[in-house]
Amino acid sequence: MPDPAITIQVTGQEAVDAELRCLIAGLSDRRVLHATIATEATEFTRDYLLNLNRHDTAARLGATPRGFRERNAVSLQPSSDADAAHILIPRNTGLGQAFHDQHIVPGTGKTFLTIADSPRTYGLHVRDFPEGTFEFAVIRTHRGPCPVMKFKDTGEIGYWLRRFVDKKQDRTLLPSDDGWRQVARRASIAYVRNVIQQQAA
């Protein structure tokens, strides 16, 4: 007796094909996908900076934080094309310190950097005070003689004068690579879902 024929019928193939087709269409031009990833990653990084809540220098001096990092948050920009997604970080945000050590020197025509050492001078330049507020002095430190600007009235140090400042790399100034990867993954999933939903609609 011949074996009974068994027929296997695969159903739903058309629906799967349609989903695949629209996915392929949605992924063949990746500009919107990359715009989505760049935007989500930028917003994620902005949130990170807004919530960083690190005011080390202000806390050390007992000064009111100036919100420097908060203000930097809006300077970040998403950028993308068909090949890649980027977060653009302007150099004047100081966030380059997240990627490398920094060697900071005075600008052209200047001899010293002024490093605030008082709650009165934090966030301000020497010229922001009336003329005659400070006097130049050299004080002895454990590293040798060091020029400073002292308040004339109290003798308190207003600024340390330095020819350069070295800052060590601090990766915590920006989200971790893993954090960015997760955002990119979530954004990609949201995009794919959106493509499928649009096709269904």
């Binding site: 919530n51 203000r71 150099r91 004047n92």
Partner: protein
């Protein structure tokens, strides 16, 4: 696909900053408002800043600030040094300011161009304006418009006393936020506020209109007014659907975008081809024309054609980078 954080010089803010001409003027803030927002948005100016070399320095500094070459502190220093070199004094103004044109300012006040307050305000406002303009231009690019058709108004920084933004939103014609958004959310940094509108919705322009609010900067992008610390966040179509966001007349996203002529495909939006200068002092108009190279049509002398110049400047800026 990895995300690449890029330390950069070529920013949207720089592109926006470079597309502006100079506008030396003796006018105060109130007088400047009469010039019209289109002129101001495309010019570098400051109230009582009649001295062309200073305005030119201001433009250079803003360009560098927008490019990320210098910080706000360095910008303040550069402007202060420029004013000092020129011989500006708060009492007498610029050396060649006609007597009586600019009232004397008290040293250290906001009217004193050399004061910390004034220089900070200039540096921060100009930087934010250029960033906002750049962000708006990018937001209108096809890919970004498709992914994020709307913005939500959010706080991005602390202020001592927050202005009542939900009230401003309603005055500007925005729709009442849903009950899921606490009314005071606008006071918390980064919190969703429910003040959501499509890109290009007139509410964004009304929010920055000096006709509606005395501190308005006459722009339809952040920061809208002096020291607002408010910004916007791009919102997806799914977010809009969740919170029932529609156009001003109840349009869907597709209907709204189809009705907008300014949707662009990867370039900065060009301005309206002509700017009305009706009612503007002929001397100021002459200066404006001279400094910007604008042209007029003899049949309508109050309309200045400016778009060719801006297009040339933008092309030049793109070519340079």
């Amino acid at each position: 696909m990895p995300i690449t954080p890029t330390l950069t010089q070529i920013t949207d803010a720089l592109t926006a900053a470079q597309g502006r001409g100079l506008l030396p003027t003796t006018l105060d803030s109130a007088g400047l408002k009469n010039l019209g927002s289109e002129v101001l948005a495309r010019s570098v100016f400051t109230a009582h800043g009649a001295y062309a070399p200073y305005i030119s320095t201001l433009k250079d500094v803003v360009d560098k600030l927008a490019a990320g070459d210098i910080g706000e502190g360095q910008a303040r220093t550069a402007l202060w040094e420029s004013l000092k070199a020129i011989g500006y004094t708060p009492e007498g103004g610029f050396p060649d300011t006609p007597v009586g044109q600019v009232p004397p300012a008290l040293q250290g006040t906001l009217q004193d161009l050399m004061s910390h307050q004034r220089l900070s305000l200039i540096a921060k406002t100009q930087k934010d304006l250029m960033t906002g303009a750049g962000e708006q231009a990018r937001g209108m690019m096809q890919a970004y418009l498709a992914a994020y058709p709307a913005y939500e108004l959010v706080r991005m920084g602390h202020v001592k006393v927050a202005r009542d933004w939900p009230e401003r939103w309603l005055i500007s014609g925005g729709k009442e936020p849903g009950p899921e958004f606490p009314r005071m959310a606008y006071q918390s940094i980064g919190a969703p506020t429910g003040m959501i509108a499509f890109k290009g919705d007139p509410v964004w322009g009304e929010l920055g209109s000096s006709g509606n609010f005395d501190d308005g900067l006459d722009v339809d992008y952040p920061p809208w007014c002096y020291n607002s610390q408010m910004w916007w966040r791009p919102r997806s179509a799914a977010y809009c659907a969740l919170h029932d966001v529609t156009g001003p007349d109840g349009e869907s996203i597709d209907e709204w975008q189809a009705s907008q002529p300014n949707v662009i495909g990867g370039k900065m939006p060009l301005p309206a081809p002509r700017i009305s200068m009706t009612g503007v002092d002929p001397e100021i108009m002459k200066k404006f024309m001279r400094d910007t190279g604008g042209t007029t049509d003899s049949s309508e002398p109050s309309l200045v054609n400016y778009s060719d110049i801006l297009a040339r400047e933008l092309a030049h800026a793109h070519a340079k980078h």
